[in-house]
Symmetry: C2
């Protein structure tokens, strides 16, 4: 149903998480869970390919950092990513409004 490219909610959510602070992959999963009040539990198999796609597209950049002997890969949103985020947010709002319009439609 016109699931257009800029309506991919996973990318919207990931970009949204990165607005304001850099995060590493694993952290995004827990952050998403926290910010959505446990509604979303993104799978690693979903996240990592999306991060790779976002980096290839120039929407995020990455760098590595040490913490507790572990290497973490942090992601930072780019200017292009912020623009993309704004567009996807707008698309989401149009989509949600559309669904709500249909659901609340009163004949007559």
């Amino acid at each position: 149903m016109e699931r257009k490219k800029n309506l991919e909610h996973t990318t919207l959510l990931v970009l949204s998480l990165l607005k304001g602070q850099d995060l590493y992959g694993y952290q995004m999963i827990t952050e998403l869970e926290r910010r959505s009040n446990s509604t979303f539990h993104m799978k690693e198999g979903t996240l990592y390919p999306v991060l790779k796609k976002l980096e290839n597209g120039g929407y995020v950049t990455s760098y590595e950092a040490e913490a507790n002997g572990r290497t973490r890969k942090y992601y930072r949103i780019t200017k292009s990513g912020l623009k993309q985020l704004a567009e996807e947010k707008e698309s989401w709002e149009v989509y949600a409004d559309g669904v709500n319009s249909v659901l609340s439609f009163m004949p007559g």
Copy 2:
């Protein structure tokens, strides 16, 4: 991203259209367009398989009627379909709330 079975928005929209009145397939497309203020343009290739699936699942029943020399296949929502609609509507609301929570999250 946990796109669970009861979060299929197409079925939600179709069932929602059928609540209140019987419709035939082609009409659902124009109705959906109207009720969503032209946000949604469901493709026939999307709709008809969904209708078949809904009928097989007992969520709708169908009957044929003549109009202008054309045969139209009308669909009517069943009691089971109404229950399903209520569940999917609830799921949609949880999902939309989740996305909005993440989008509007203010750190601190």
